[in-house]
Amino acid sequence: MNIQHNSKLKISLNNLDDITQNTLKFFFKSNLCEKAELNIKDDNANVLIIDLDRQYNKEIIPNLKKNNQFVIFLHNEMNTPLSEENTYNVTKPVQIKYLKQQISFIAQRINDAKKSNDDSGDATKNNFAAPANDGQSKPSSQSLGLINNKSHTQNFENNHLNMALKNSTDSSTLNQYKAHKHVGSNRDINPDNPEELNKIYHNPKKYLYHHLVQAVKLGKDNKSNVLIKTLFGNLFFDYKSQVLFHSFDNAKMRYFKSSPLFIETKVVKASLFKMAKKDYSISQDAESLIWQSAISASKGRLPLGTSLTQAIEMNCWPNFSRLLVFRYVIQIAAAWSTHHMSLLDTASQLKIPQRYIFTLYNAMLAIGCVKIDNVIQGTGKINRKKMKKVFSKILSHIFSH
């Protein structure tokens, strides 16, 4: 296959986490990227998108030029990007505008090379015309093993996002997808299958939110300020104002909130807070930061040992008007506020993917609004009101404005 002048680049997605994989599939399947499309056959890809922070087949890199291929590496800000020939980099979390920019550079290079070859009339000099896929220059299927997308594709066909894709690619769909970033991409599990059960739990002690919760509790119990010592810098909890001070910029904080890095974190009383501006220049409302961190850490998972069948005991509504919300949160909280329901009851009764319910539970647990009732089992059924049709219409009206 030779790529035609101005035809679309063939993109192959590799070793990506499910969220990024699905996001990029959405991006390339929609009409949001005119210059590239998803590759169907692996060995024809012009561009491989690879997560530099995960394991990948490093043998590909030296052969990129020979194979007329390019790589776009996705990498964490703290990870040094590669600067090999035919490689480009995009910092995570991936911003579509930067990804499009890199794709444009690659497309431009390919087109320039094609033009130059056309001008010289020598097709054999076409270095960037197409990925080599025959003879000696064809990368072996082994070396391209990491580009096998079949399993991901299968997942994708079944997941929630695909439902949205079928409908449209307008802004409402984009907004709908946007919500998924908060809850991960775990599929519903069968609780009777122990292997699947393992996937839905995380160890809170490894995450920032757990230590923030501990700090607020310690502050409340002792009526004192608290220092949270982490390997990456300290956070300071001011008890009186209920504010957390730190020096992590948005990108770092986003990373810290979602990464299991805080196992060695210590929470200690701090009698005085000598404001060293350079150390603690950023302040955030404690509840809001805990809430966001718990959502980012959960990504559709529950704290280790959480019962799926005991009823949830809700004791207060989160102040949703001032907190980050994602799809279904009001509906789920409303069910818990009016019925003795377990986590599994909630998913089955409301017909909402489990990951939304687990994420909300984790966040509400972190701010102390829910816990598992050890006595009452989930009883399940929700009785419906007669006026449900008009309620639906009112909600549609509200959401459309």
Binding site: N319, Q331, F391, H401
Partner: protein, 179 residues
């Protein structure tokens, strides 16, 4: 003839009922404000003496009536009339009022029959102006156990905040609503 549905906005004088209705109404709000002449005068220049009226007009022209009750306790005889047939109650409390907790208790108690039959969402306004109590202090006033009453800090001028209250009201009435 289309059937009629109504959502009730209540709360003490100056809590933002008129403003909240205006925030989400699809028609110009009908106000029945008059110059304040009693103790209300200390709180604001004009006040609602009968009721406020707005409406959400749905796509099929169904009208959801939005009624704001007068805030003064001497008009409480109107509250029962207004709530008759209502979908539920949005209760607004002025968070800058040092009597806010008592006001919350009073209104929850006054509308108890209606709330028991329907549902209520509480919005604490003016928390950014001069907050007298934290949200936890309001939550402590409420009964323990189910149903857990939703309380939000809101800005009555914000369509988003008032819409959140309506959304919450509807879902507490029926968590299974699908859109």
């Amino acid at each position: 003839m289309k059937s009629s549905h109504k959502i009730i906005f209540s709360g003490p004088v100056g809590a933002g009922k008129t403003t909240a209705i205006t925030s989400i109404s699809d028609i110009p709000t009908v106000r029945t404000e008059e110059s304040a002449s009693d103790e209300t005068k200390d709180l604001k220049d004009t006040t609602t003496v009968a009721l406020d009226y707005g409406a959400i007009i749905l796509q099929d022209n169904t009208r959801i009536h939005l009624y704001g009750t007068p805030g003064q306790k001497r008009f409480d005889f109107m509250w029962e009339i207004l709530t008759n047939g209502g979908i539920g109650l949005l209760l607004l409390i002025d968070g800058s009022d040092s009597n806010a907790i008592n006001n919350l208790k009073f209104f929850l108690s006054s509308f108890k029959n209606f709330i028991d039959k329907t549902s209520v969402v509480v919005g604490i306004t003016k928390q950014d102006v001069n907050k007298k109590y934290n949200l936890e202090e309001y939550q402590e006033v409420l009964n323990k156990g189910l149903p857990v009453i939703p309380i939000y800090e809101i800005d009555a001028r914000s369509r988003k905040d008032v819409s959140l209250m309506v959304e919450t009201l509807l879902y507490t009435l029926d968590p299974k609503i699908s859109i």
